[in-house]
Structures are given as structure tokens and as C-alpha cells.
């Protein structure tokens, strides 16, 4: 009972926040509509665009500049140290970089390949919506929730005891007497963590690719079939080229998500046992070790890694458009 009252109080603060925000907007609109004549245009511009621009400058542009400059400073952010923080990343954190690269390459490709397979199979099925919903469902679950779900699968118990983890039990049914401690099993624990991300992302890849496959005009497929294309040939010469742009979007979208993912590793292993990746190391340096310089340098590494992805993506889409 007491807790519910406390909860109502919390909801009330949320409501007050919304109300205050609403009043602010109404006042701005009221003031703005008082301007007449030649001031009305700039006033409208200022009120409509101003708040968003101010928040973007304060929330993204200035912080990005400050983070870049902090990455050249020492742990307290007070003395310049040149490239030392980056030197530290590439000297002593190369494992972290390698893990991140594995994540960025393997997870999107695995998710997309599986999603494409499912999309193709679904295209040959009558009742597809239930299967689609269920495969897509993990996408609604938080990474934290997904990690807890999967820790039930990777749970380790001594082989002479009743098993609690599903994976151990399954391999024991198949005759493995002594399953490993999955999350400590280097270097394979990295791949086990990636499985969680694949589990989440496959639904996304499937839904988008399935829509793209359905959008292929029927006459294109018929013409190809008349020319004798079937099976693999139809798939590789007609289907894939027709959905090429969508495939690129799916792969790069998942790459973006993977590049910045932090929650799975944090909750499952907290980066121990050789599973550390850049975003979690960044969090650990910045908010656990309070090393502003190193934390910032790791954030900049992420930022630099995102840029070629975007450039490639925009370039590919342009090209795709031009040939259309």
C-alpha cells in the first residue's frame, strides 16, 4: 500500500513535468502569435525551431567537441597528454578492439543471413503472421531482459548435479559428460553473447526483408521463370539483386546497433573473461575508474568507427537510386 502511494507520487512528478512542459509550449505559442507584420515570420521561426536547435547544440554538438578535446587530456581532464590515451587503447586494449570487431562483423551478417532465410521460407508459407510475431517479439525486450533470459540458458552446474542451464542439459543429452562453464569458456563465450544479439535482431531483418521480397513485382519473377530460372538461380540472379538496397540497410542498421551495444556484455559478464567490448570499456573507464581522458578517447573511437558505415550506406543508396 505504502509502495503504491509512493508510486503515485512518482507518476505525479512525471505528470507535473509534462504539465510544466505543456504550459511552456502554450506560453511560447501565445507570445509568438502576438507578433504581427514583419516580425511574425522570425518570431515563428524562433519559437518553432529554437528549442530543438538549442537542445541539439547543448546535447550533441558541444559535448562532441568537449569529448574530443578531453580525449587528449589526462584522467582528470586537466592536463594535455597528446595521443597517450589513444596509444593506451591500441597498446593495452587491443583485445577489446578485436572483440568489438568480431561483434561488428559476425552479428549483423549472422542476423541478416538468418533473417533472409526466414523471409524466403515465410514467402512460401500460408499462415505466416503468428511465426513472424513470435520471431519478432525479442525486439521488444530490453537487452537487460534478454540477458537475464539467456543467463538461464548458459547457467552452469557441476555435471553430477541436476542441470539448470538448458544448453548444458542439451549437450549432456547428446553425450557430453562435462559441459564447460559457458560464460568463462574463452574465446567461445564471446560468440555465446553474440547469439543473444542475433536472437534479438533476426526478427528485424526478417520483417524488413520479407516486406522487400513481397514488393518484388510479380512480372519480374514470371519473366525470369519463363526464361527457365528456378531455385538457386532465381534467388541469386533475381531476388538478391532486387532487394540489394534493403539488404545493405539491414546489415548496416544492425551494425550501428551492435557498435554501440553495451547492456548485454555489462549484464552477462561485465567484460570479464575476455569478453570486453569498446562501449562497456568506455563506461568502465569513464564512470567506474573516473578516467575522463581514456573514457573520452574510447567514445571517439566509436564515433570514428560509425562514420565510414554512414558514408558507405549513403553512397550505396545513391548508387542504387542512380541505376533504377
Amino acid at each position: 500500500m505504502e509502495e503504491l502511494l509512493l508510486g503515485l507520487e512518482k507518476l505525479w512528478s512525471g505528470f507535473l513535468g509534462i504539465a510544466a512542459f505543456g504550459v511552456l509550449i502554450v506560453v511560447l505559442f501565445f507570445l509568438g502569435s502576438r507578433f504581427r507584420g514583419r516580425f511574425s515570420h522570425p518570431a515563428a521561426l524562433l519559437i518553432f525551431l529554437g528549442p530543438a536547435v538549442v537542445l541539439l547544440i547543448m546535447g550533441l554538438i558541444v559535448p562532441a567537441v568537449r569529448t574530443i578535446s578531453a580525449s587528449f587530456q589526462n584522467s582528470s581532464g586537466k592536463e594535455p597528454v597528446g595521443w597517450a590515451n589513444y596509444q593506451w587503447i591500441f597498446d593495452s586494449q587491443s583485445d577489446v578492439i578485436v572483440n568489438s570487431l568480431l561483434w561488428i562483423v559476425i552479428t549483423p551478417i549472422a542476423s541478416t543471413a538468418l533473417g533472409l532465410t526466414l523471409a524466403l521460407l515465410l514467402d512460401r508459407m500460408r499462415r505466416e503472421s503468428v511465426a513472424k510475431s513470435l520471431i519478432f517479439m525479442p525486439m521488444a525486450i530490453s537487452f537487460v531482459g534478454a540477458s537475464i533470459i539467456w543467463s538461464l540458458i548458459y547457467e552452469y552446474r557441476a555435471p553430477d548435479k541436476p542441470q539448470v542451464g538448458l544448453l548444458s542439459q542439451i549437450v549432456m543429452w547428446f553425450g557430453v559428460a562435462d559441459p564447460p562453464k559457458w560464460l568463462l569458456w574463452q574465446p567461445f563465450n564471446n560468440y555465446l553473447l553474440m547469439v543473444i544479439m542475433v536472437w534479438i535482431q533476426v526478427g528485424f531483418a526478417m520483417v524488413v526483408l520479407s516486406a522487400a521480397i513481397k514488393a518484388i513485382p510479380g512480372d519480374v519473377v514470371e519473366a525470369a521463370e519463363l526464361d527457365g530460372a528456378t531455385g538457386w538461380k532465381l534467388f541469386s540472379k533475381v531476388t538478391i539483386p532486387m532487394i540489394r538496397a534493403t539488404l545493405i540497410v539491414v546489415v548496416t542498421t544492425i551494425m550501428f546497433a551492435v557498435l554501440k551495444i553495451f547492456d548485454i556484455v555489462r549484464v552477462m559478464t561485465n567484460g570479464n573473461f575476455g569478453t570486453q567490448i569498446v562501449p562497456n570499456e568506455m563506461y568502465a573507464q569513464a564512470f567506474v575508474q573516473f578516467d575522463i581522458g581514456r573514457g573520452s578517447a574510447l567514445a571517439v573511437v566509436l564515433f570514428v568507427a560509425v562514420i565510414p558505415l554512414i558514408v558507405f550506406n549513403v553512397y550505396q543508396l545513391r548508387k542504387d537510386r542512380a541505376t533504377r
Binding site: 540458458i153 547492456d263 563506461y283
Partner: protein
């Protein structure tokens, strides 16, 4: 990524989860039983992990800790006590999930409304209020999506705690109470709301702009000729017509904030005052990882809200997700 992605070929404007249309069904000569079988197997595999969570959360403590959840079907014993304990706190985990659960709502609802409102306004200005630099501003905002939110965390935290000034000009005031180490904002939702709003804006403006810019020009011009101000047009014409885009993005943003851990840990810490369920779960998983029956109950409470949203509003959810999946 998104510019072209949202226009034509990439994300076709069919509801991806809807039943197939009749011509497609006719086009398909055979629906292969083999394909159906593989899909059913994969669907089963994909559902098992979540099923395991639900089953474990309903089992008595001793059962859950000493036997696999699949043995439940041979030896069914159901209890609600895990949920009771994790909701209010108990002997094992002293504080319950309830305050965090309410925090999640108090964070996520405003953090969905604020950026949406501001994004609608900005998108309208960029699309329909003529000014010299509108294209440049629009593309700059679009480009800001490249900045990973990790770049902003430290500087924003400094801003909330210590204030910011550009030389002598204060940009964000130092809100420390005199004689205390704590900012006035500590223990409130305000830093979380502001941070989520800031991070959501580039994508929100971009997507809503794409929608608003396609409203009929004649309609806008007729309203202008009749003497309607921008404020009136925005309220009476633009907002009502943009409801589908707004609904999709609202759902996406609500779920994004609900499921977020990084921003929550950075700006709320782990206290029951303001931290959301994700932060609670991450903490509890670290400290009481062996209490499977309680952790699974907590996790189920945390994921039940997004699951309800997902199953109830699937169509909007999918659209919002497809449009918004590039966020971060």
C-alpha cells in the same frame, strides 16, 4: 541509412505483419510443407528462451534453483510468491522492484512526449516556414545522428552537476545548493528527460519532417492566404494530419527509453528515487545472480510492458521500429 531509406524502395509501405494480399497468394504456386516445417522449428527455438523465463519465475525457490525449468512440465508446482517478494522486497532482496517500475513510467512517458513535441515544431519550421538556411539546418540535424550517445555522456553529466559557461557567459547554471555537494537536479527525473530528449531529436526531426513535408502544399497555402498564422496552421492542420507518424514514433521512443540502460545508469545511478527497472535488474543480476526465481520474476515484470505494447500496437510498433532502428 535513413535519408533514402524512408522514402521508397527500402521499407515498402505495406504492413509487414499483415496477411498477404490475394495476388501474392495466387502468384505462389505451392506453399511448401518443408518450408513451413523449418519455420515452425525456428519459431519454437526463438520462443523457448522467453518461455523458460516465464516458467522459472513461477516455480518455488528450491525447484528453480535445483532443477531445470523444463522439468516443470513433469513436476508442475506454481507459486506467486516470487512475484510478491520481488515486488515489495523480502528476505533475499531487500528492496523491491515497485518504485523502479513507477520510475520507468515517470521517465519514459515524458521522455517520449518532449522530443516528439519539439521535433514536430522543428520539422514544421524546416518544411513550411521559409528561411534562407533551412536546407543546411535540416542536413546538419540529419548528420548529427552520427554522434554516438557515448560522446555526450561525460560532458552532459558535468553540465548537470557543475553547470557550464562559455568564458564568463553562463550557458547552464551551476545548480548546486549553497554548502552542499549535490545539484538541485540530483534525485529528480529532469536530467533523464533532458538527456533522452536531446538524444532523440535528430532522428525524430528527420522522420517527422519526411512526413510533414509531404502534406499538400495547396492546403498550407490556402490557410496562409486566409490569414492563418503559423501557430494556427500547426495546431489545426499539421498536428491532426500527422497523427500516424507521431503515434509510430511515440511508441518507438517510449520503448527505447523504457529499455534503455546506459542513459539511466549515467544520469540516475541505481537509487530507487529515480532509476528505472533496467537499472534495478542490472544491479540485482550482479548481486543476487544465483536467485534465479526472483531475477526471472523481476525480468518478467520489466518486459511485460513492452510486450503488451508490442502485441497490442504491433502495426504502429513495426512502423516506428523500422523507421527508428537506426537510433543511438
Amino acid at each position: 541509412m535513413s535519408v533514402e531509406a524512408h522514402e521508397m524502395p527500402i521499407l515498402p509501405d505495406v504492413d509487414p505483419l499483415e496477411k498477404e494480399s490475394i495476388p501474392q497468394a495466387a502468384r505462389r504456386k505451392l506453399s511448401s510443407p518443408w518450408a513451413s516445417f523449418v519455420v515452425v522449428v525456428i519459431t519454437f527455438l526463438w520462443t523457448i528462451p522467453t518461455l523458460g523465463l516465464l516458467v522459472t519465475s513461477l516455480r518455488p525457490a528450491a525447484d528453480a534453483q535445483n532443477s531445470g525449468w523444463w522439468t516443470f512440465f513433469a513436476n508442475p508446482a506454481v507459486t506467486w510468491s516470487n512475484y510478491a517478494e520481488v515486488l515489495t522486497g523480502g528476505n533475499t532482496i531487500p528492496n523491491g522492484i515497485t518504485p523502479y517500475f513507477f520510475n520507468s513510467f515517470a521517465i519514459a512517458i515524458p521522455a517520449a512526449i518532449f522530443p516528439l513535441t519539439l521535433a514536430c515544431m522543428a520539422a514544421y519550421a524546416l518544411a513550411w516556414v521559409r528561411f534562407k538556411w533551412s536546407t543546411v539546418v535540416f542536413f546538419t540535424i540529419f548528420a548529427l545522428q552520427v554522434i554516438p550517445l557515448q560522446m555526450s555522456l561525460l560532458p552532459l553529466l558535468q553540465m548537470f552537476n557543475l553547470g557550464w559557461s562559455l568564458g564568463p557567459i553562463p550557458i547552464f547554471p551551476d545548480l548546486n545548493r549553497p554548502g552542499s555537494e549535490q545539484s538541485l537536479l540530483a534525485g529528480t527525473y529532469i536530467p533523464l528527460w533532458i538527456a533522452h530528449t536531446m538524444f532523440a531529436l535528430p532522428l525524430a526531426i528527420f522522420l517527422i519532417h519526411n512526413f510533414i513535408a509531404q502534406l499538400p502544399r495547396d492546403l498550407m497555402e490556402a490557410a496562409r492566404v486566409d490569414g492563418a498564422s503559423h501557430f494556427l496552421i500547426f495546431r489545426k492542420i499539421v498536428l491532426p494530419l500527422s497523427v500516424p507518424a507521431i503515434a509510430s514514433f511515440a511508441i518507438f521512443q517510449f520503448l527505447w527509453v523504457w529499455n534503455d540502460l546506459l542513459v539511466a545508469l549515467t544520469f540516475a545511478g541505481g537509487t530507487p528515487d529515480v532509476a528505472p527497472v533496467t537499472a534495478y535488474l542490472a544491479n540485482v543480476k550482479g548481486t543476487y545472480g544465483a536467485q534465479l526465481h526472483l531475477i526471472t520474476a523481476g525480468a518478467f515484470i520489466a518486459i511485460v510492458v513492452p510486450l503488451i505494447v508490442f502485441f497490442a500496437l504491433q502495426r504502429y510498433f513495426v512502423r516506428g521500429l523500422l523507421a527508428g532502428s537506426v537510433k543511438g
